[in-house]
């Protein structure tokens, strides 16, 4: 029994020189069977990139090239088709249909307005329309994030029949779940835009920051979706952990409130949440028409509080970029084991 280390190329060369069997083949015993079939010339093996390599012949540079050149770009059509499917099936056989896309952020806004009303009452102030608008603009990315994480966590395990039976880059499954949520977010944004006009809030030039913030939210969410979907495939407890974190996450993310309400140190701590600068940035730029390159210091009850700094934006951007790339790489590395472990 030949159990010596067989490392692709080396093995190809080693057996290539061996004499071939007659064309009319006889029964081949197992120890000989590597010699019975003519091997292709080794030069061809080295040149062709289409051979699937074994687990120990890989590198990060190769991974990145594979992800973008061989997986995401050629399969963009599939990602689009799966997104369409996710959107369609979500609203098939439902009574409310696309109203669901608006309902979820609307509930977040109502919950936020209730909490803020109580806070304003205690503080002896009046709850203004800009306050509610600020909650509304943050409710959309929050619902997007929650929805994406929830659907992405089960995107691989829920489609195990696809994962074990047909080859395609598995990245498209959690990414499609995220994109379907992004579609919902777009409906939410359109509704919000109309509502803003009705309530007399007219976004200014600073609102042009919003697409960048949306991109950051998308990258951060996509990266985390990839990680969560892949982790849940190996350890099913991840799904429950994600649900618990999302349930309480709203208390640690400035959706209902603003970081400066927590004082100087509290605001900084709250802004450590990578989602916080994205949400606050949306509020400052769209509702309050503030250029995000400015630094804003608010005078609170206990002294000056740093409410916004461009560094917050950089911090969030770094998170988004790192999460996206790490998500893709980790996912890609684990991908080859999916069919065995799912």
């Amino acid at each position: 029994m030949n159990t010596s280390r067989v490392g692709g190329l080396a093995a190809g060369r080693r057996t290539f020189a061996q004499p071939k069997m007659d064309a009319k083949s006889e029964t081949v015993s197992v120890s000989q069977n590597t010699a019975a079939w003519p091997d292709p010339p080794p030069a061809q093996l080295a040149a062709d990139g289409w051979l699937s390599l074994s687990e120990d012949e890989r590198s990060f540079a190769r991974d990145l090239r594979e992800i973008f050149r061989e997986e995401l770009w050629p399969y963009r059509g599939l990602a689009y088709e799966l997104t369409r499917r996710d959107i369609r099936i979500r609203y098939k056989q439902t009574v409310l249909g696309f109203a669901w896309a608006v309902l979820m952020p609307m509930l977040v806004v109502m919950a936020g307005a209730t909490v803020r009303y109580a806070m304003a009452y205690i503080g002896g102030r009046h709850l203004g329309i800009p306050d509610v608008a600020g909650i509304a603009i943050k409710a959309v990315p929050w619902s997007f994030f929650v929805g994406s994480m929830g659907f992405a966590a089960t995107s691989l395990v829920g489609q195990a029949n696809l994962v074990t039976k047909i080859y395609f880059p598995r990245e498209v499954l959690p990414l499609a779940a995220t994109m379907a949520q992004a579609f919902d977010a777009c409906i939410g944004i359109a509704t919000l835009f109309v509502a803003f006009l009705l309530f007399g809030i007219h976004p200014g030039v600073a609102a042009l920051w919003a697409p960048l913030l949306a991109l950051l939210a998308l990258m951060l969410t996509a990266g985390l979706s990839l990680l969560v979907s892949c982790a849940n495939l190996f350890y099913r407890d991840v799904k429950y952990v994600v649900h618990v974190l999302l349930m309480f996450g709203i208390f640690f993310t400035p959706v209902f409130f603003e970081p400066q309400m927590f004082g100087a140190l509290g605001a900084r701590l709250m802004m450590l949440n990578p989602l916080a600068p994205i949400m606050e940035g949306l509020r400052w730029s769209v509702v309050l028409n503030v250029n995000l390159l400015d630094t804003i210091v608010v005078q609170g009850h206990h002294g000056a509080v740093l409410a916004w700094s461009p560094w917050y934006l950089a911090y969030s951007a770094a998170w988004a970029l790192v999460a996206f790339l790490v998500g893709l790489l980790v996912f890609h590395r684990a991908e080859s084991k999916f069919a065995e472990y799912v």
């Binding site: 083949s25 369609r88 029949n161 696809l162 074990t164 047909i166």
Partner: protein
Amino acid sequence: MAEGLIEFQHVWKKFRRGEFHDSLRDMVPALASRLFRRRREGLERREFWAVQDVSFSVRTGEALGIIGPNGAGKSTILKLLTRILRPTRGRCGIRGRVGTLIEIAAGFHQDLTGAENIFLQGCIMGMTRAEIAARFDDIVDFSELAEFIDTPVKRYSSGMNARLGFAIAAHMSPDVLIVDEVLAVGDWRFQKKAFDRIGEMVRRGMPVVVVSHQLDRIDSLCTQCLLLDRGQVIKRGRPDECIAQYINTGTQAQRENDGDLPFRVTSVEIEPKGPLRSGDWLTVRLKGEVRASTGPENRVGVRVRSLQNAQVVFLLDLTSHDPRLSGPGTFDATVELQMNTGKGYFCIETPVWNTRERRELGQGPQALTCVNAAAFNGTANLHPRVHVATHPASANRELWSA
């Protein structure tokens, strides 16, 4: 466009039995050992090789059939080829666009209509939207589901599902084709249509890998064959040779556990061993022993089964020919059969059965013979008497002019 090519080079694949992570207590030492030892060479506890050092390549104009018992690693090889699994050692891959006729309905979503699923499944298989749109009508025609194409797939019967799946897969014009046991779908007529479609792709010179238990299909489609058992290549060569050995190894395993049969057939030999012409005589020589004095209800005989449809073509009861076969001792028997059959493979079996309980008790060894030349197509020669009258065209013309 480079032509399609299938390559499998010294591939090993390791699997584990049982649960993967039983508890945290097992996981921690496992992780630690992974950190300190970079590569694990041999097998660890509960691991086994599903594929052991298998190599082959399939080029244009070649079709490789893979046969073997369940658990031989056939499907694992296809999954390695299509990149669903990654080899533990070695390399494998496919150049060109892969058409997979494996689990052809796996990508369907039950809530979507047939038409929506055509686009979805087509994309999963690697077609672009434009390509699918261009072939949409052909796909619907081939599947014969035109009137149900706007019905959700969850209301389809399993046959309709399979037909739609096959129709999509059959229209993707791949460079390389991989087929796994999909011919057993749909009704008889659709099976034939599907088989013809695959045959057409093979004739066009597309490299093909076929896994099937329908051995006659392997024989008629493939140019080469690989016989696998427990992840190892047992034999490679012409399909008929591999099929013959497969059938014979299959029965060796069976022979070990028939200790309590009243008859034990120890060997079957056929003469001639090579292919026959229809109408040739085949001599079957049996050696066997009678265990103990058995009642007249226990019988041993020779059975001829067509591999094409697993149908028994002929059964001879040896016991009724010689009553002494019911006493203990050994026996030799020679049976001469005139093979008035059509073309195909025939398995010579040696069954032992009980007439009172009407059940088969077991089987002795088998032999395989092949009839490769016949003046007719079908199962049996009915000795037709044929009269054909011919009327030359020139005579007709004279009639008309008269």
